[in-house]
Subunit: 342 residues, 2 copies
Amino acid sequence: MSATKLKDIASALGLSYSTVSRALKDNYRISEETRNRVKAYADKIKYKPNLAAQSLRNNRTRSIGVLVSNISNSFFSEVLDGIESIGYEKNYQVMITQSLESPENELKQMENLISRSVDGLLVSLCSTSNSVELLKETHLSGTPVVFFDRISALFETHKVVADNCGGSYNLTKHLLENGYKKIAHITSSPELSIAIERLEGYKKALAEYNVPFDEELVKHCLHGGMLIEETEKAVDELLKLEKSPDAIMTASDRITINTITILHNKNIAIPEKIAVAGFSNFSAPQIIAPPLTTIRQPAFEMGKMAAELLIRLIESKKPVDAFEKIILETELVVRKSTIRKR
Amino acid sequence: MSATKLKDIASALGLSYSTVSRALKDNYRISEETRNRVKAYADKIKYKPNLAAQSLRNNRTRSIGVLVSNISNSFFSEVLDGIESIGYEKNYQVMITQSLESPENELKQMENLISRSVDGLLVSLCSTSNSVELLKETHLSGTPVVFFDRISALFETHKVVADNCGGSYNLTKHLLENGYKKIAHITSSPELSIAIERLEGYKKALAEYNVPFDEELVKHCLHGGMLIEETEKAVDELLKLEKSPDAIMTASDRITINTITILHNKNIAIPEKIAVAGFSNFSAPQIIAPPLTTIRQPAFEMGKMAAELLIRLIESKKPVDAFEKIILETELVVRKSTIRKR
DNA sequence: ATAATTTGTGAAAACGTTTGCACAAATAAA
DNA sequence: TTTATTTGTGCAAACGTTTTCACAAATTAT
């Protein structure tokens, strides 16, 4: 009933463990003949090496750990899809964990992954992360770490990100060019790298079009829109402003959905009264009322790139010389939610 | 640099490995005093047992394997979220793989998980699965298997499913009661358990309202709507029918999105010309044009239940007597896509 | 011919745990 | 007091690999 072992092959073929082991890895001085005999027999009895034993011996698990804030967030689930596809291709097991935006969870999950001796780590930080120190140690002790999406300024390492600044610049510019003057920005926690970068692009576009930046038009949802109340508060405050905005740029899927829902409930016409557009990896922006102008991030691609980079780092013999930073382009798709009929 | 080991504790405290090991597991005759001393020191030096060594020795990995068809499908990503939440709670690592609806992938992924000696398996089969034999073996060899969502008639084991039949019955009934007579059903591969059950509920409702069942009104998308073309073909064929349908009930998120997109493109008004409703775990059905009547499955809950059951099976000493089948209720939410103004 | 090298294989240690068994010390029963 | 039992600890084997070292046989160089 129990699985086949090296010993089974060895005794069946009258060889020693060592010879069998070496024959299967064909990296040593084993005669062509023996090698083939061993491999044929291993195939025949469907030998599968015991991975626990291999890990114990080799200190390698052929697995990578992933930390995201939330698996079921559509952006992250696409990223995970990409990571898994590379894991499958390169024969690495992917271990997925989520922080749920809690720094305590994040730290525990990270420790957990490390104690499972994953060969590398793929991390998208939570907004108030305090696990950077642990990551530094991990990195130093030889387990490579690649950040994606949400990175940390406190720890210089390999990174794969979307061009957040460029994306929000393009989107803001699009709004400005279509005659919107008072553009609000509802974004997530101000500590997040992505929020900072998106704000930057927004400011850059405003400056270019000589529209003064107005602090009051920027609202933060500290929970990234997990709670609709925080978006509600943001929208309400915007509507109460003396000169309330004629467009809202949102920074995430959830915030986008919340904002639209709220405006619908208040019977505020989009885009006639207020235009809406945002960062989104929504699966169907075209069937929203109204079809939504979006900045789409290459999430699947990001997962693939990050996983490929990580595995490259894992498998490179020498410690890699320089940190790589890969920036992926975003895509602006204009739909009706930002186009007023004349 | 390297992690701390049992030996470190043992030599620091002048004890043997065995005593330290037993003290940490407090399941043997170790004096209160020694136990505390060991634990305190272990805490102090942040001792983390080597999991590879433990697995090798115990034949347990404290991990469970999951197979879904696609991580980024919103239904599955919610399920995964649920599974992960229980895994975290019970301290099991979750290893997620996807079949991408390919039986070959499915089999490979399954073998992979098994060779990693996961303690149990959580499986949602792909439509033309041929890995049931392997699962049977696995089950017999003592690794429990729990099916969720898409189950197999060929293998009797533990199951967690939504009430697909009841759900589609309710939805069909809702349509019938709102005056729709010719209700089409666009569903996925006819081999899938969920498709079979949903068709059944549909037929049951029709029969109850004395509407004859019409084979021509049922269309299958073999790839579950991954390719928009297959939905396009289905819709086209329906529209070409002598008496084309006045309502369409869709069986999955992707098919729903595709159908709505296609009808929009053809300028066919929903629900005035054709009503649309479907099974969906879309994150925002309320902001679709028009707001979508849906049957929502308790995906997160399903993941939790399945994971809890599996872990219970893993940790129960005796082989469990009977197979459990948990059926979760679905929720019908009526919105404008099925309500005609009078 | 002998010496040096190459080639193929095996013995055994190591990776870090857990656990059956043995055994001494302390306690309880006779 | 002697014997039986309980209590606390240590030794050593086992889990299934990989790999260093050793060594015999075959080949090549001298």
